[in-house]
Symmetry: C3
Amino acid sequence: MKLAMVVVQDKDALHLLEGLLSRGLRATKLASTGGFLREGNTTLMIGVEDERLEDVLGIVRETCRSREQLVTPLAPLSGATESYVPYPVEVQVGGATVFVLSVDRFEKI
Amino acid sequence: MKLAMVVVQDKDALHLLEGLLSRGLRATKLASTGGFLREGNTTLMIGVEDERLEDVLGIVRETCRSREQLVTPLAPLSGATESYVPYPVEVQVGGATVFVLSVDRFEKI
Amino acid sequence: MKLAMVVVQDKDALHLLEGLLSRGLRATKLASTGGFLREGNTTLMIGVEDERLEDVLGIVRETCRSREQLVTPLAPLSGATESYVPYPVEVQVGGATVFVLSVDRFEKI
Ligand SMILES: Nc1ncnc2c1ncn2[C@@H]1O[C@@H]2COP(=O)(O)O[C@H]3[C@@H](O)[C@H](n4cnc5c(N)ncnc54)O[C@@H]3COP(=O)(O)O[C@H]2[C@H]1O
Ligand SMILES: Nc1ncnc2c1ncn2[C@@H]1O[C@@H]2COP(=O)(O)O[C@H]3[C@@H](O)[C@H](n4cnc5c(N)ncnc54)O[C@@H]3COP(=O)(O)O[C@H]2[C@H]1O
Ligand SMILES: Nc1ncnc2c1ncn2[C@@H]1O[C@@H]2COP(=O)(O)O[C@H]3[C@@H](O)[C@H](n4cnc5c(N)ncnc54)O[C@@H]3COP(=O)(O)O[C@H]2[C@H]1O
């Protein structure tokens, strides 16, 4: 059993979820925020049997898209705020960041 | 050291938490949403020494209950929405879904 | 690759995040609640290559501070509420509670 923690952009979350559910897979959605952009994103926690992990990754690839986003990073909290000039920066925000963890024990109660 | 990610129904979360705390166990609560029902539920992150894992599972069994829930799944995002007739479906929502992970390293700072 | 789940107090979260980002590290923030105090705190999910784990722990130590907090635990949900006298208790709330998990597989999609 694996537990995949999948960080995706909000606009792809619903399509990813539908893709998983329509194939009998299950997921729990955690509201999250990107550390850099400070914008809401979605972290899906997907418990999946080892043999279906490739299916999950396939569905993520089909539904989650890399996009450019223009951002103005926030002024630093500490120091040098007087000389801080906020200028917009373009960042490539990935379709998905996936961490697959091994599950020691899985129980349905 | 183990880290148990335990998804439970909101109505059982407080009793589960009380059960853990009264036995000196600790937990962090993450607000979550069920992927299928799209309703709020609770994910408890419980770090526990190996020898107390059975206690945690016991408390989960005592406090978390399986229930039937009548749901009307949302219309699909893509395709065939004109012919979609939402009809209620009864699902069995488990007391708890538990993923136990092995902790490589545990630090209190 | 490791995935560090780091529970910190809200007032330290932004400094911790800045410390990580300025060193090219990445994080996803999950809004969480302490099981005991029932107050909002922050859980940072930090995916990091094995060789940079010590950097992450160092930044956590620099930015997260242990504090005393006076709390009045909530009345128990079940039983004995008539005789319950809420009296404030002082608890030591740690700078950070860190769970390091091994990542089986890491994908950027
Ligand atoms: N320290 C830094 N220096 C320079 N540029 C930086 C940076 N941190 C992030 N970025 C850039 O900003 C994008 C959005 O990052 P954010 O942290 O908001 O949102 C992230 C974060 O929520 C999550 N994520 C990515 N890598 C992670 C990791 N190693 N650990 C935890 N979460 C991660 O996935 C989202 C998308 O990440 P992605 O890498 O595709 O896209 C990142 C990357 O292009
Ligand atoms: N492998 C897994 N990975 C991550 N999280 C998991 C998981 N298995 C269960 N969960 C979490 O536990 C909640 C209860 O799941 P349960 O399987 O008892 O109860 C489920 C099940 O009876 C049914 N269900 C869920 N997904 C389904 C699917 N793809 N097809 C048919 N029925 C589904 O609807 C109930 C509520 O599901 P919902 O997603 O709203 O809420 C789920 C979800 O948040
Ligand atoms: N093993 C674990 N698994 C999952 N999450 C963990 C954890 N250990 C700590 N945490 C998280 O870190 C926060 C700070 O915990 P700490 O032990 O420093 O500081 C704790 C501790 O001094 C005390 N405390 C917590 N649970 C207790 C219990 N069962 N009995 C007595 N004191 C407790 O109250 C403070 C605040 O606790 P709170 O639960 O609100 O918030 C906790 C919780 O969100």
